[in-house]
């Protein structure tokens, strides 16, 4: 079983996590740009963060045999900072053209403010201009309305729905997303969002078309092995191997390959690991060379 985790914030995770993920069969991941917990106060903090996603983090993943892609965008929480938002948006075109940037994201709504909607719309335009799909974060609070508003915005801007991944769905938002042509992501978390058993029940009810699962592991209580753990539960619930393979590999690969920056034939095999490699004279080795 080939496994793709299409949403995981590795910057917040340890090398133990990378080792465990590789051992569990995860071949490739997407790390969306997002909020770091501590609000940023300078545009330079975003520059360094984006550079780190494209540089050091991609290198770190490669040292464990995992292919690392990312999405770049201004997250909805920080879209509310008027001192920063315009400057960050102005940075994005350069980053969106870089290799390995497979979507604009995470964008969408948090508090569902006017500032969030304006940044969301501007980034949909950027995605169109750069030929990229978009990754939409749906809010924790007032989620159903936020999901509906997100799809309505995409539709009103005539952005192709098959190039949209609406993430963090639950029992009430999944049918709404499936009525559109958007893809539906599900975040399997230890306590909130979705869990493995509820996910298996949703697959039994709705099938596997446009269905994606991820761990969204970050600096909070989360688990980077949630995709493999969901596979185990889906098997226990009698879901067949082809259906599972489609959900944990074919679907996310097909979605992000729309960026033109993910070579389907290349990512099939685990990359060679060369721990002698260095990134700007840094290695993940600590004196043990």
């Amino acid at each position: 079983m080939k496994i793709f985790d299409p949403h995981v914030h590795m910057t917040s995770r340890t090398t133990d996590d990378y080792e465990a993920m590789a051992a569990a069969g995860i071949l490739a991941i997407v790390e969306p740009a997002f909020w770091l917990g501590q609000p940023r106060t300078f545009v330079g903090s975003f520059i360094d963060y984006f550079n780190s996603l494209l540089g050091w983090e991609r290198f770190r993943a490669s040292q464990f045999g995992i292919r690392h892609f990312c999405t770049i965008g201004l997250n909805p929480k920080e879209a509310n900072n008027p001192k920063l938002a315009d400057d960050v948006l102005a940075l994005l075109p350069r980053y969106l053209d870089k290799g390995g940037v497979v979507a604009v994201g995470e964008i969408g709504f948090d508090d569902q403010t006017d500032a969030e909607e304006a940044c969301f719309a501007k980034q949909i335009e950027l995605a169109r201009a750069h030929g990229l799909p978009i990754l939409i974060h749906t809010p924790h609070r007032d989620k159903k309305r936020g999901t509906i508003r997100s799809i309505e915005l995409v539709r009103s801007m005539k952005f192709p729905e098959e190039r949209v991944l609406v993430d963090h769905n639950n029992e009430e938002t999944l049918p709404i997303v499936l009525e559109s042509a958007c893809w539906a992501g599900h975040t399997i978390y230890p306590n909130t969002k979705m869990d493995e058993h509820r996910m298996a029940a949703l697959v039994k009810k709705y099938g596997s078309d446009r269905i994606i699962v991820n761990s969204a592991a970050d600096w909070g209580i989360s688990d980077p092995l949630k995709v493999p753990k969901t596979i185990t539960v889906m098997r226990q619930q009698g879901i067949d191997e082809d259906t599972i393979q489609k959900i944990v590999w074919t679907n996310p690969v097909t979605f992000f390959a729309q960026s033109g920056k993910l070579d389907v034939s290349e990512i099939d095999a685990r990359p060679e690991i060369d721990r002698k490699l260095q990134y700007a004279t840094n290695s993940v080795l600590r004196g043990e060379r």
Partner: protein, 195 residues
Amino acid sequence: MQAAGGSADAVAAAYTTARRLGRALLNLSAAEKGDVERLQSDLQFDRWTLEDAGRAALLMASAAAHPDGFLRAATECYDRGDSAEQESWLKSTPLLPEPEQLLPIVIDACRTNILPLFEAVACENPFPARHFPERNFNQMVLKALFNQVALSRIAGLAGRRNADLTRMAADYASERRAAGRTVPSDIGLAMTETP
């Protein structure tokens, strides 16, 4: 308060130094509580610490001595504050001048994932009920539900309930049930009518 001087930097430095007052509870006497109630009937100090009180006094004194520099000094204290300083700052907002200018900072503070910071705004603090626009107030109440913060701690909630908040709370209850989870028992406090 002499140390506060005029400059924002000097006020911010004194704001940090106030940590030496310590985190023991302020513990107002009944008579002191009576005095407070006569000034602002909706203020509550039960969870205030000595450093919270010292920092509030510092900002109030700075505002009185240098009203023109108040906003810059107050913003500097918040922006460069650690979590404890920001917590003190948010608790003190109902006592500070220029609430409309402070409002964007307080609304932004609600976006935190640091629960004590969120509670410094949402709980035992009349500032949101007095100044938040409806949409921001509603988001704050939903976030309290989401984080298992008792709604009875939100000052002035009863007077700010509205149709949209009622709908949001009902949707949240429905989402919890669909996920096979329990619904917070005090969710009715966010609703103008029980569904």
